[in-house]
């Protein structure tokens, strides 16, 4: 076996182990360890991605001395390696971009605990991406949930703690349903590894046995993961959690944590149930409807909001609606569009959160739109970055959001029966997006009378500016060179089967 095949295992273990190490280090050293680990995992994922592209086939890796149905496995393909790389990039940039806010918002003595949480979150995300075993996925979902809760309430104001409680309650309902569905699935198939489960499921479908429990178990797992990733009716915790937690946390939570669950759902759809079997159930219609509702109601709530961070948070609800709408179309094209939207949304949303703190900082810390008037002149980099993010969200060409909207509409045209609904809602949602993002952009570019707020230039915060540039470049890369990425996603999905 090629040595590169060890990399998925190494990246999971390094990030787990670094969490333990950080617990005895002082905050500064923990920060260095954290950055180094994220960068190392990113580099390993990149090498792995290149290796997988050159060989063109996925591989499984035994976690122990025992082969498939007995031992535990992880599995790597193009999509997994690409996702891991992408998650590392976003996480590194978010941590770097929000680092200076950490000092004001988190008690100094608890900084190293924050880095432990981030390391463990990274490891759980990697494990969710690479795992080939359903029960392992459940365990790491729990790590993900708890560390995400920690990220929310590390900044201890009343709102975040209340949001953390609500988040935990929702997540635990979700985990309960997921585990129940998993148990039923285990009872029917007798396996916990995804590939073996899939074989048994297709046999059961062919023989017509146990149809009802099978569908119910799939539905329970889907609902559980939907609840955890804050699909529309289950999003009550989201605005406070994203709106009031510290900036890095908000960026990581909105762009990575919910995406981890969604990626697990994709794995379940492809690798446990089978794409065709999943599409023959009515579950996709339910996902489709809730996705559409999320797109509309998320945007409407965002328009009604007059706090910039909460507005971005509500916009996340709408964007998650897009992703589930793609699932609900039940075609390969819809799935590709959803996965591309995962990437594009992660890149854009973290950019917006990081840019928003730059704007609020030069407005006396206030997040109300009234006080943000003219903020883009006081911090030009943040203003430009916020504008780039907004343009991407609205779907202006050159930016990533445009490509995902294009892919969604292309996918929608191919689906009979759902075409009209999805195109209309896409249109409405784009208009609504434009309303609330352009409103904000115009607001921050309206000159204000001398307000006495300080002006921040690039020289004052170099690292922050560089992070913003990296984010913008990432967005533009996703928007300009979309074809290779779409090809890669298609190749990765083909490897799933």
């Amino acid at each position: 076996m090629n040595f590169i095949c060890n990399f998925p295992f190494f990246s999971i273990l390094i990030s787990l182990f670094s969490g333990t190490i950080c617990s005895v280090l002082p905050a500064k050293a923990a920060k260095v360890v954290n950055r180094v680990v994220i960068a190392a995992v990113g580099v390993m994922s990149l090498i792995l991605l290149l290796y997988l592209l050159s060989t063109g086939e996925s591989f499984v890796y035994w976690m122990g001395h025992f082969p498939a149905p007995w031992g535990n496995e992880i599995r790597a393909g193009v999509l997994e390696a690409g996702m891991a790389l992408f998650f590392c990039i976003i996480m590194y940039l978010s941590m770097a971009g929000g680092a200076h806010k950490l000092y004001g918002e988190v008690v100094e003595s608890k900084h190293n605990l924050y880095y432990i949480l981030v390391n463990l979150l990274l490891s759980s995300l990697l494990a969710l991406v690479y795992t080939n075993d359903m029960f392992t996925a459940y365990v790491f979902v729990e790590i993900n949930t708890i560390s995400a809760c920690g990220l929310i309430m590390i900044r201890q104001v009343g709102r975040t703690i209340e949001a953390a409680v609500r988040y935990m309650i929702m997540s635990l309902l979700g985990s309960g349903l997921l585990l129940f569905g998993l148990c039923i699935m285990y009872d029917l198939t007798g396996h916990l590894l995804m590939s073996n489960m899939k074989e048994s499921v297709s046999l059961l479908m062919a023989s017509g046995e146990y149809q009802i429990p099978l569908i119910v178990s799939v539905a329970l797992m889907c609902v559980g993961l939907c609840i955890k990733s804050a699909l529309f009716p289950f999003h009550a915790w989201l605005p406070d959690a994203y709106g009031y937690s510290t900036a890095s946390s908000a960026a990581i939570l909105s762009s990575l944590v919910s995406k981890g669950y969604i990626f697990l759902l994709i794995k379940i759809i492809y690798r446990v149930i089978g794409f065709d079997i999943f599409n023959s159930t009515r579950i996709i219609d339910v996902l489709f409807v809730f996705g559409l509702m999320g797109m509309i109601f998320g945007s409407i709530s965002a328009i009604r909001e007059n706090d910039i961070r909460r507005m971005i948070a509500f916009s996340s609800v709408a964007q998650i609606g897009y992703i589930y709408m793609g699932f609900g179309m039940g075609t390969q094209a819809g799935m590709v569009a959803s996965i591309f939207h995962i990437l594009s949304h992660a890149a854009t949303k973290s950019l917006l959160f990081i840019a928003a703190i730059g704007l609020t900082d030069v407005s006396g810390g206030s997040r109300k739109f009234v006080d943000l008037t003219g903020a883009a002149y006081r911090n030009k980099w943040a203003g430009a970055a916020f504008m780039a993010g907004s343009l991407s969200m609205v779907g202006v060409p050159l930016f990533s959001g445009f490509i995902s909207k294009l892919l969604f509409s292309q996918a929608a045209v191919q689906v009979e029966g759902k075409m009209l609904a999805s195109l209309i809602v896409l249109g409405i949602s784009t208009v609504l997006n434009a309303i609330y993002f352009m409103k904000t952009v115009i607001r921050i570019y309206t000159p204000a009378r001398e307000s006495g707020y300080s002006i921040v230039t690039f020289k004052d915060m170099k690292s922050y500016g560089i992070v913003l540039i990296c984010f913008i470049v990432l967005n533009v890369i996703l928007g300009v060179s979309s074809q290779p990425i779409v090809d890669m996603i298609e190749q990765g999905l083909a490897m799933f089967a």
Partner: protein, 124 residues
């Protein structure tokens, strides 16, 4: 209704317990009772899972006198999974309880709705 409801009475009980816990988690306003509901829900799932390994007339999977035939022991997998699960539920309980203490020190109430109302009133 299928044929096995009566034979699967244990699973039926665990489903009922699951729903009781679920309802508690959704509807109780008191945080501590919510957490108890959560624990009941988790235990119900573990009962459901443990029922799957049970085979009537066989003994626990601890090798006695070197007998290693599948005829002698029950299925060990569900037990192992439940062991893992119990640890998870303890961790989550501890976390939720500490959140409760934290909220109580700040707002002097255990009612989550009341806390939300206070927060909204503070308006920040």
């Amino acid at each position: 209704m299928g044929p096995n409801l009566l034979a699967n009475y244990g699973e039926a009980v665990s489903a009922i317990l699951f729903c009781i816990g679920f309802t508690n988690l959704l509807l109780q306003t008191n945080l501590i009772k919510k957490i108890i509901g959560l624990n009941v829900m988790d235990s119900a799932i573990y009962l459901f899972l443990a029922e799957k390994g049970y085979i009537a007339g066989r003994v626990a999977p601890i090798v006695v006198n070197g007998v290693t035939s599948t005829e002698a022991y029950i299925n060990p997998i569900p037990s192992g999974l439940v062991l893992t699960g119990i640890v998870v539920s303890v961790s989550v309980t501890a976390l939720m309880l500490s959140l409760t203490i934290r909220l109580y020190t700040r707002y002097h109430t255990l009612d989550l709705d009341e806390i939300s109302a206070q927060l909204k009133k503070e308006g920040k």
